[in-house]
Symmetry: C2
Amino acid sequence: MQGPSPSVREAASMYGTAVAVFLVILVAALQGSAPPESPFPYRIPLDPEGTLELSWNVSYVQETVHFQLLVRELKAGVLFGMSDRGELENADLVVLWTDGNSAYFGDAWSDQKGQIHLDAQQDYQLLRAQRTREGLSLLFKRPFGTCDPKDYLIEDGTVHLVYGILEEPFQSLEAINVSSLQTGLQRVQLLKPNISVPALPSDARTMEIRAPDVLVPGQETTYWCHITELPEGFSRHHIVMYEPIVTEGNEALVHHMEVFQCAAEFESFPHFSGPCDSKMKPERLNYCRHVLAAWALGAKAFYYPEEAGLAFGGPGSSRFLRLEVHYHNPLKIKGRRDSSGVRLYYTATLRRFDAGIMELGLVYTPVMAIPPQETAFVLTGYCTDKCTQLALPPSGIHIFASQLHTHLTGRKVVTVLARDGREKEVVNRDGHYSPHFQEIRMLKKVVSVHPGDVLITSCTYNTGDRTLATVGGFGILEEMCVNYVHYYPLTQLELCKSAVDPGFLQKYFHLVNRFNSEEVCTCPQASVPEQFASVPWNSFNRQVLKALYSFAPISMHCNKSSAVRFQGEWNLQPLPEIISKLEEPTRHCPASRGQSPAGPSTVSVGGGKG
Amino acid sequence: MQGPSPSVREAASMYGTAVAVFLVILVAALQGSAPPESPFPYRIPLDPEGTLELSWNVSYVQETVHFQLLVRELKAGVLFGMSDRGELENADLVVLWTDGNSAYFGDAWSDQKGQIHLDAQQDYQLLRAQRTREGLSLLFKRPFGTCDPKDYLIEDGTVHLVYGILEEPFQSLEAINVSSLQTGLQRVQLLKPNISVPALPSDARTMEIRAPDVLVPGQETTYWCHITELPEGFSRHHIVMYEPIVTEGNEALVHHMEVFQCAAEFESFPHFSGPCDSKMKPERLNYCRHVLAAWALGAKAFYYPEEAGLAFGGPGSSRFLRLEVHYHNPLKIKGRRDSSGVRLYYTATLRRFDAGIMELGLVYTPVMAIPPQETAFVLTGYCTDKCTQLALPPSGIHIFASQLHTHLTGRKVVTVLARDGREKEVVNRDGHYSPHFQEIRMLKKVVSVHPGDVLITSCTYNTGDRTLATVGGFGILEEMCVNYVHYYPLTQLELCKSAVDPGFLQKYFHLVNRFNSEEVCTCPQASVPEQFASVPWNSFNRQVLKALYSFAPISMHCNKSSAVRFQGEWNLQPLPEIISKLEEPTRHCPASRGQSPAGPSTVSVGGGKG
């Protein structure tokens, strides 16, 4: 076997990051910049077997993330990084590789064909490589933004982490193509908010909502449904915190969990413990939809603000709860048993405010549709000034958490608050949103909404793989655009959503009909999905649909519950007028920036093979 | 009076550009990078009085422009620079200023309120400041692109130069606001093509087309029309070159000149010498529209390629020529006399090819319209594959020059060549186009057009100051989108232009009518301009008009002369489909770029006040 190609040697020495990592190395000179002991509050397994484990912390002051990657069974190397949606192509990577003689660590990127290249600017900075009892531990850091066009910008919201296992030496970095490797992705909110944890009340008690001893099916995806109930006579309490309980060893298997409260109008619900899509599942369980708690991989405990709690128990509240556990089992492991669930912390000493959940975005209706073959089609739902004026208390409400929701084609979601026609602040934004990763997220900053404010929720969809229009609705192949915002004090307003006026949509179908001299069924008995299905999707009809959605009046759902509207005229409402938009956050990339941050230069290496 | 504020001292020393320029200074150490003697092929006056004179050259290898600015009567300083459309706000500037004690030279920029700031990155590099007999001469250079977001990017096409006169000292750069200065703008093609000048034939003769001894009217704008004629029996010749003759002293007054040949169908034309808008001007002079030569301020001689010439004289060619001189006289100077004109170089030894002029873009028809209050509305005209297939010779034609043309609201013009649905190259582009500066420009690179190619001409309009739609047409308040391309060998194809199919436009008016429940007059007797005038310009109607223009079939003018079409079906033609677009030219701005290019640091200054 040849030695490393000159270009690699050159590159490695050029960036001064060559380091024999198979040895026990201590980069003594650099430990000053390493964070203190046990400094990694967040930890997730990257691969289904858990051989790669990532821990990290976030410094908002330095705008830097410190990563600690534990490689349990190192073969010839590993790659780790980030990409727009979890693809291994066009990814921003760190690579630890060997040519058989030496080992190298470098900031790299993969092109659209999956070939790996060393990055001209080295922004991942290796701080320590250390053999531990558990495996090789790599400590490195990276700024949120690097100003290197090849690099991923670490933003709020979902980050798609990617990894790959190098099974054998490569003569050069350029010889690696990700398509030949065992690779995978893991979604995570990397930039966790930096919120101080409120103290728990002294009388806090806990309740575990678990599906005991589930035999996890040997299939990739299982949603397990389990019904449990509160004790008879359980009085009104406030949930003040909850945290996940994940069965040890199943950390890579348990993807997300939610606890729903069932509808109070039914006296009781049948017990059930089985896959949610089972034919045995009682129909009535569909009425268990009121979210009490939601957790997803990588999330820690969820705390309510000190002055608020989520009420449960007591009169007018169902005693029945549904726990839903999503098992992600791509290796189709059979026979694994799991008892994961959620631990609720609650108090009988009710806090000053009840917390509530409000739905923002689009009404679940087919009038809002996305043409097929669109890569970034935007639909927008409004919570209008008229509705907030009517329904919010004079002192406003305070949103402290948010859960974004779409179905399969959702790619981005954002809610913005506008006041007097001017966009003021982002409530929550996820530019790498995935329908497979719907966490309740604490907001970095509580957003106060006053009567007369407008909340604008926009979702971006990719229908590149669809041949017919995707209409709004409840079905998994239909779409939604929702932001469940968690707020206090509780108001009667449960739903503040919109959809285009149906009459104007009919004008659109008529117009398409006349314009294209093709027949779109506009006969009165045709349903809106049927009408959308018969639209010939040429550029004109696509653009006019966009024009319609950004012009036509809307129908508002300003509702106390899903069926009860606030009094007032809610049809044919004007679209909120926005005279000034928030500027896109721009990265300041001074032309004066140096070649690379001061980082590890040549590292002296001691000791024999470990 | 106080000394300079600390911030200026700091800034000046920080950027190391402080230099006492009221003295005779020789920056000896920097002369190595100064260009050789008399190295400035291009020269223009900046202000109407000619006290500021700019000379420059272009290095395409270094992507740098060397400027020499002559300040004839220096007061307390001068500012010079570039901006998008000639405004003094948001301009990229060099400023020579004094605080009363010292003088400074620096790269600066003006904000949108006109206040001046020193640039964080100094990209104008002072090479020499010298007192000459004529005045102070400043020699400095600048790269085309600097990667500084505050800087203007010097591109092909029109550049709006701006200047200002500092009448008194300023305590700091930040104390200067452009609104308090005498300022102005001058349009110029800064990046002249780097074309080797073809040799003139040995038998070349010259002919001067001049309006002798014109008494220039004391008003800002005069288009002077002068009829002259070729000698009786003047046989067929080829024009191979022409150059301006500008009366000495009137360099700042003569803005542009064109020579038109009159229509051959009229036996004779009345003689006339007077303002073109005079009521005394004979009607028939409107038939003198065939361009023989065109010159604008800053342009040098225009050479035909060695193998081609523009035919004039002989049978079938009118003996009558119309010279049009545009006098730009903002100071309303009275009594000035001028005899400027154009010198044609022609030969009786006909060259291998006749050159021709072809019109690309939009048909002059009201069906192509721009809504009011649009800041960047694009209209596009096509020369389709079907037309080039039919009309071009198998070996194609070669475009060597181009004159872009719109009326008052035109802001950008570009023509792109596409082959097999893919954009291949730019024929001519002006991203800072001004209707007040319509030069014939030699192309940097001859563009060959083959049968089956498509030529796409797009114009961008700003109708921010209009209240009604601006329709296509001949009127100065109507719009055009034309590229007159100069090419050889001559073909019968004179016009290759398009417009939206009128039937589809009627569908648009119907649609607008039904959709808005307002009445757009669609009765058969209403003219298209009347119909456009009654459209309520809401966002929907604007967007649908855009969708119409980018979707509806077109009507082609594939014409031998303005009235004679090539045989074939030219109505209801499909829009050319473009599957791959040319990428926007991206500037490579490495993050590793240094603070500023190696430039003049502290300069030692000797001698007393001059």
